[in-house]
Symmetry: C2
Subunit: 337 residues, 2 copies
Amino acid sequence: MGGATTGAKSIRDVARAAGVSVATVSRVMAGTSYPVAETTRAKVLEAARSLGFVPNALARSLARARSDSIGVVVPRLINPYYAAMIEGIDSAAQTQGLSMLLSLTAGDEARRETAISELLARRVDGLIICAGADDHVPGRSAETLGVPAVLIGRQPNGGFPLITTDNRQAGFTATEYLWSLGHRRFAYLTSHESWHDFHDRALGMFDYLGTRSEEYEARIFDGIITEADAYRSVREAYASGLKATAVLASTDRHALGALAALADADYRVPDDVAVMGFDDYVTSAYVRPSLTTMQMPAETMGRMAVAKLRALLDGGVEVEDLTLQATLIERGSTRRI
Amino acid sequence: MGGATTGAKSIRDVARAAGVSVATVSRVMAGTSYPVAETTRAKVLEAARSLGFVPNALARSLARARSDSIGVVVPRLINPYYAAMIEGIDSAAQTQGLSMLLSLTAGDEARRETAISELLARRVDGLIICAGADDHVPGRSAETLGVPAVLIGRQPNGGFPLITTDNRQAGFTATEYLWSLGHRRFAYLTSHESWHDFHDRALGMFDYLGTRSEEYEARIFDGIITEADAYRSVREAYASGLKATAVLASTDRHALGALAALADADYRVPDDVAVMGFDDYVTSAYVRPSLTTMQMPAETMGRMAVAKLRALLDGGVEVEDLTLQATLIERGSTRRI
DNA sequence: CTGAAAGCGCTTACAG
DNA sequence: CTGAAAGCGCTTACAG
């Protein structure tokens, strides 16, 4: 009692020091448009400054019933795809004056539900949920959640607006490109059908192949998650006689593994085999041969998600999905055969 | 008035429904050790469940003067080094029941200060500040901050406990290793002296070279930030006659650029030139030749930072720094000459 | 333009 | 084991 040696100053301390009411202090500190005399404002500001007052956002949130923060849940960060996505989210959020509460789930559904609960308890104004390739139906539907949410990446939709890149079209474009180079025998590297993004890319591949009358061959190699899996899979496949001239990997990560496997098995890329991925990691331009890939606009999706969330927060009722397009980035790992 | 159609339920609603006081509800929901009759507890739990009550962590934080959240500021995420660090932090934080408020600064000092202010306003219990290679003195000292903070990565210390990897020793070890392979002419790729981690690695390099009586040559190439910078720098250096047989890059990122440059200039790695980096990105094992590197324990540093912060929060007064060691990962980009 | 006061949803001595 | 009540630090009608 008396002078707490430490202890953050409160609005009351400032009011006392400035000789005004707490209401006035609140009004100037919050920077509202509420009219306050210039001289009063100056007094308050000066008092706040000299006391080292830093407003308590928790109290503010409680009183206003909005926290100006958003919750973001994402599987992991070492994957550059997600890293870019989060960078996009953070940057847009900062612009909007929103803080970001981030939770990683490691692709574990239970952890995702826990994370969402925690975020909800902290009263985030909204949620952005980035699909793990392995995620299934969100535990709660849009209605039961209580706050607006937007999903990034295809996942069983529970009534949430969805932002995604047109994976099917991307798969189509990639295949069309490889076909145009003369390739007729394809190997597609993927994880599992339940990984929607990857599966859609495969569908796009077959969409394109279906438009061709010429003969072709397309083999799917699944169960691939890490670079190591891709490496092993490709190595074994070619060792046992695979004749594919083009390896289409569902992600640059797999493509990297394929590239390494082919190099170690003395195949020349792109002369003997072409390799192509999806995502366009920063590193993909610097491996040799450099990697041709379908660039997924991860950062943009992040930004868009915040924009959409903002619209929802501002009372928008639009639950429309948003679909972006991937871009073909042609590099050294593919060429006309 | 009456029944708000939406509106989150409060502890009061639960109390009413369970026929107990709010104090009792608080005690069971908070899961304290405070004694509550089993039957009462059951009633409360049931009421909470059926009302879909989710406690307001904001109110709780306000009342308890602690938020069980930590603020983390980091330059960026597309850099796998930081991504791993944040994964370590998140994972340890989750274990400790701490939420993570994340802010990216893009290496901009002003943004870092803004981020810290925001975090402080949100009353995080503590701060973890990951050094940008380009960061300078933290705007505020340990005392003026008001909450415990720990720094990761060397940066001008303002009285904060620091977690770092012994970069000087890592530089020493790397050079010793290259020397043992027979290399006597080195090129060191780096950014700028103010990037402490990188500079320390260079110091370690010269520490080792200083122990040798044989002749050697060591050239520093600085101003390198991106893969592209490294590519250009290496390309030009060799084109104008550089004779170094070993390129030591201050980060795998630079090493990747160097690898690409050498490949494009038809140098064989490791036969003509050896390349080595620092960090050990996930991709480093899958480029060809695979990259020899000093593995920096980024994720561990993240975990340690949380542990240290926890100790500080629990009243520890220990401001001791913590130094980890890097690990030599020998791969295909280096070999005896 | 300014202030008194109720309220946001919890926690926690304090008194049974 | 239980509850009444003050308090955490803001915001915001409401009344001047």
